[in-house]
Assembly symmetry: C2
Homo-oligomer: 463 residues x 2
Amino acid sequence: MSDEQADGDETGERDDLEAVLATVRERVDPDADERERLREVAERLAERAEAAATDLCPDADVLQVGSTARNTWISGDRDIDIFVRFPPELDRETLEQYGLEVGHATLPEGHEEYAEHPYVKGTVEGFDVDVVPCFRLESATEIRSAVDRTPFHTQYLEERLDDDLAGDVRLAKQFLKGIGAYGSDLRTRGFSGYLTELLVCEYGGFRDLLEAAVDWHPQVELDPEVHGRETFDDPLVVIDPTDPERNVAAVCSPDNVARFQHYAREFLAEPAVEYFKSVDPDPLSESELRDHLERRGTTPVAVRFDAPDLVEDQLYPQLRKSLAGITQGLDDRGFDVFRATTFADDTAVVFAELAVAERPAVERHEGPPVHVQGHAEGFYEAYADDPDAYGPFIADDRYVTEREREFTAARDFLESDRLFDVGLGAHIETALEDDYEVLVDDGVAALLEEFGRELREYFEPRP
Amino acid sequence: MSDEQADGDETGERDDLEAVLATVRERVDPDADERERLREVAERLAERAEAAATDLCPDADVLQVGSTARNTWISGDRDIDIFVRFPPELDRETLEQYGLEVGHATLPEGHEEYAEHPYVKGTVEGFDVDVVPCFRLESATEIRSAVDRTPFHTQYLEERLDDDLAGDVRLAKQFLKGIGAYGSDLRTRGFSGYLTELLVCEYGGFRDLLEAAVDWHPQVELDPEVHGRETFDDPLVVIDPTDPERNVAAVCSPDNVARFQHYAREFLAEPAVEYFKSVDPDPLSESELRDHLERRGTTPVAVRFDAPDLVEDQLYPQLRKSLAGITQGLDDRGFDVFRATTFADDTAVVFAELAVAERPAVERHEGPPVHVQGHAEGFYEAYADDPDAYGPFIADDRYVTEREREFTAARDFLESDRLFDVGLGAHIETALEDDYEVLVDDGVAALLEEFGRELREYFEPRP
């Protein structure tokens, strides 16, 4: 914030901010027509589902859940979530069978997908509709799978979100989308819709949330129902009002908490509509890539392979584990990793920029202290007559030898079987065993066609 | 030790060892003729010194000290040390004046040198003679300078060293010379003559000392008079029998303690006369140097300058400090030092072999956590509009930027003023301010003419 702004007219600033928010509201608030259309389709589908469900099980009922049920959806989002609740006495197999039958009855054109239960997904008049079975329980602490919790969340928020707060939830969601921190999927590791709704409720509005976030000192802990009884390591902890043992923000990475804080400060200092617009970067061109590499003087390397056939929530944790393993493997061998990332589409890539891509032919190998008699003698004898080793000599109180280094170039390590000694995700390991290629230096330009956007984000990083 | 040796005939081994020691004794024990000549010269000089001293101060007396007085000199060593003791009432200035007068009277051809007091040094019939003044004190704890302690050492050892032990001291000294660990000068940082004598006395002989050293677990502490009252960090602690607050082995480096232990083991396992022979390596040739550099794949660098005009005991600590500072400076900038050393003659050199001699053009610069509001905003604003910096972006909870690196080549750092930011010995800093040259890669061949032996020791290191 510049001095001028700090000394500026606070009312003026608030007006700026309110003007920006008003502009954003125009875009994110569904108009009466959109609401009516959604309500009409959702009700029709709910009735159809309820009829099918009670045919099978008189004790079943139907709930509309999610953002469209809670009036917090952003204009243009077209998801309708219909939960079919069955009594908890039902065995799981029957629940799944009934669930699919109801789904197909509700969505005759739908297809089956699989989350924790199988469910039916389809499109009705442009809306994406999920029909999901779950158990009707007394309390969220009794849940058998994550979907059983959803009705409790909807019930909790329906009681608290008035029209004003629902509007502020829409602003908060759009802001988080704009800064790239929205979504609790394991690729993004950001703020879920439910978390956003709780934060807006708890702080009393979008602007209040931003103003609070500016002063966050993680660990930040919120417990709306004051019933938490676990401790968590996460930077942001929001105890689920429907489950005292659950941190709603567990998936939210430290980066995304810091990112939200950063943009909260930036936005409050200089409100602008731009913060609410997702960035969709142009792909990096080959000449831009070359310019970056020349300017940086690093050595890029990439391990590329066919992406395993996994949903993103399974794929990204495995990619990150593999990224950590491979960069550790490089670092351990003296190939200093400057920065690294991973991305996936049809192929998947572990990409690392090296500050050091070549090492000398020898490596220092420290032996035991000379006074540790058995080990010391064994070490000395092992190397004393080795014509390929220098020494052993003494440094401080230890034997030291200089022996041939296994890998003098990063490429050699990446192309060797030793790559499989590092921690890799199980499916990534299988994919690499099948086949992979190693790209080095200008060779990484081969990634531009598939990953030009990701490479621009990598080489032009923003908060 | 091989199994065969371990199972071997112990008596046979002892015979081998005794045969080797007998051979060495032949060489190191002065014969009757040498003893007689030394005794005759030493007595004549002592009488001359006493006459001159008592002329000036009736209460003065003269002592012969050092290895020739204690019968522990090695055949061919030709040092005679004559100490002239004055009563402690004398002021220091008068002591020094009297000392020089006595020195010149004793050694008419002598010249003055300066240790803690000035003294006179000269040559008489092939012997190197020092005439040194000191105070005659009641106890070594009252000493005013290190030379005052010497008479107490001689007195203590004269009472304990019989002919057998004196012979074993000669063996021990020659062994330590052979392995390069003899001498308490600050270049060697090894075992002094007095320390060697105490160790042989304490363990009861040379072989007993070796057998004990094999099992040393530093810290090793000996206190012959059981009067020590200080604690020391040194790996070897021998409390001075004449001064409970002094560790006689304080100067002895961990390397030299380990070296002695190593060679004690080797010698006892396979006794050989070679251990008692100093190694004087041939200078390394230019083609040998090239072969080593090619085989090792490292990048040698050297900072060479005129050696400051200092005695070795002042020069080497400063060289080592400069070595530590310069290698730290290189490491801090990412130029990984593989091994390094320093040597001096007319010129002095800090020599380092680098595993990494070049770095990329950018360096990672971690800022504060985003939640440390004041610092974080300052950091962000400092780099957000810097066209030469990448970022700031967020990693974990911190801002990070990638900015231009100051030095991308080790040579650039060594040739820059930043070299003077590292810890350097005072006289080395002055010498570098005057002039220095930086040699890199094959350029270090320019060192061969002056430091060929040192470079062989560096590239063919032994324990």
